[in-house]
Amino acid sequence: MQFGGVVAVNNLSLEVNRGEIVALIGPNGAGKTTAFNCITGVYEPTNGQVFFEDSLIVANHPRGKMKKAYQGMNSEKYLRTKTIAPTPDQITRLGIARTFQNIRLWKSMTVFDNVLTAKHMRARHNVFTATFRLSAAEERRMREETLALLEEQNLAQFKDELATSLPYGLQRRLEIARALATEPKLLLLDEPAAGMNPQETEDLGRFIVQIKEKYDLTIFMIEHHMDLVMRFSDRIYVIDFGKLIAKGTPAEIQANPQVIEAYLGVADDE
């Protein structure tokens, strides 16, 4: 992925297997969120491909002006494949949901409506049946499922409050609940523990494992809290300046001198 003259993510190859919790770590500005945005269709990658459940969902190679300007690696590798550039909603429809680094709840809506609106995509209705209440059964089902989901997440007591009036930790949890409402198979969490204290982080880790089991999810997350990453993830990828510098189990990563140099040395300052 190249922005102007900056190659934000270069020759990054990741693999997330079904049922795993995989973490992506790296210092600030390493390109973690950019990688997320390439997967979820927010950005069109300059050069590269994304596979999901054995099918190619995103593909691109340098075109037009970018052909000359491209400074990343593998500039020839994907030339043969056709460009596939889905919009984020199409990606979500395939079963990849995400949360955001800076919370993006719908601020004028209640907690309940936030989750209910996320169910809109999977609902079987069209604008006529929805307007004239011909699909009332569908609407009732959506409402029941929303309530059940909120109860599971212990958010039911806040359901009629404005989403933005919740305390910060609960807003994060609501964002995850909203992502779950789209019925994903792969959940991408962008710094779910940002701004949380150690106790909250610990709770969040258990919560992530719990929803993973319950909804049969695969989880791929960006995180800065090392205790969360080391305790709860199965595998870790480390990137720095857009390049992969290490991958492996938490134990392997902790022992990797390159990682310690690039990342963990800095982590103490946080």
């Binding site: 919009t87 909603d89 979500t92 719908w106 409506d113 996320a118 307007t131 609407e139 409402a181």
Partner: protein
Amino acid sequence: MELRKNSKKDGLLTAAALILLFAVLLTMELTMKSTSILFTVLKKGVIYALVAVSMNLLNGFTGLFSLGQAGFMLIGAYTYAILTMPVAVKLSDSVYKYYDCAIGFELGILPSLILAGLIAAFFAALIGLPVLRLKSDYLAIATLGFAEILRAFFQWDAMGPVTNGANVMRQYKDLTKLRIPFTDIRFPPTLFCFLVSGICIAIIVLLINSSYGRAFKAIRDDEIAAEAMGINLFKHKEMSFVISSFFAGISGALLAMFQYTVQAAQFKSAMTYEILLIVVIGGIGSVTGSCIASFLFIACNEWWLRFLDESANNILGLNILRSGFRKVVFSVVIMIIVLFFSKGIMGEREFSWARLRAFFRDPFGLRTRRAKKAASGGEVNGNG
């Protein structure tokens, strides 16, 4: 359970209020002189209420700052006029003086109303394809531009056989010949406008409260989050744009019906600004706000402030009251509203019986304020 009982009661209350409104309108129209200014204000008010609500669907609920409303009203008005004009009139020289009319048929009032909406919606779908990829101010400029292009297109000489060029359209069907079913009484035109607009506004409200309405609000609140949650931005924006234009087209047709004449020159961008003003005064994102503001706006503009324009009303020998002074006072009124109700009369809220009851129990929150004061005072004492 309590809540549900209340909402049922409120529903009945709303229905009763509406029936009462229609009954009052009917008796008024059957007993009073039909040329009364009151009816003009009511008719124009309810037509503007419909177009303001349709604009609010776009600007307030979907967050698309579009200024094309007058253009779509123009399409609706012309479609209605062309379709309902009797063939005999089309063939004679009385309207199509310089052109030979190309439309050789006529339709009834109701099908023409619906077609007026559909053709406006069709144009909106075409215009929406390029325009809806733009955001905020750029979208406003582009839609405004398209509305002006539409006006020019309808006045174009080559379109003469259809639109009669820049000349006035008249002698099309209005409600003078329509009778109340099974009687010989003329169908009251104000009641008709209220019925059609009421049904249209009800449909818009149903849409806003449906799953699609929530998706529109999600787009307004945060486009990126909406897209990430699987809401197709373009599809939903186009849908909102087309539906809004459909109802703008119908309101244009109603306007043509009530004015008896229609001319493209009337649908200038100034008209869109009037509607925008109504939406802003009523509260962006409030349907009832748009309706209330529409009646207030039309009543002030056409009726209540008229006396300011007549120099005969000057007192104490001052010569300030003259033609145009009304506009000065009107601007001041609007400035005051915008300054003191910065979110419009209703803000983002809707009218509800519960709020009305609360208001009568405790007007302007005086009692709550006093109670709060007492409570905080007590606390201070307790601490002391």
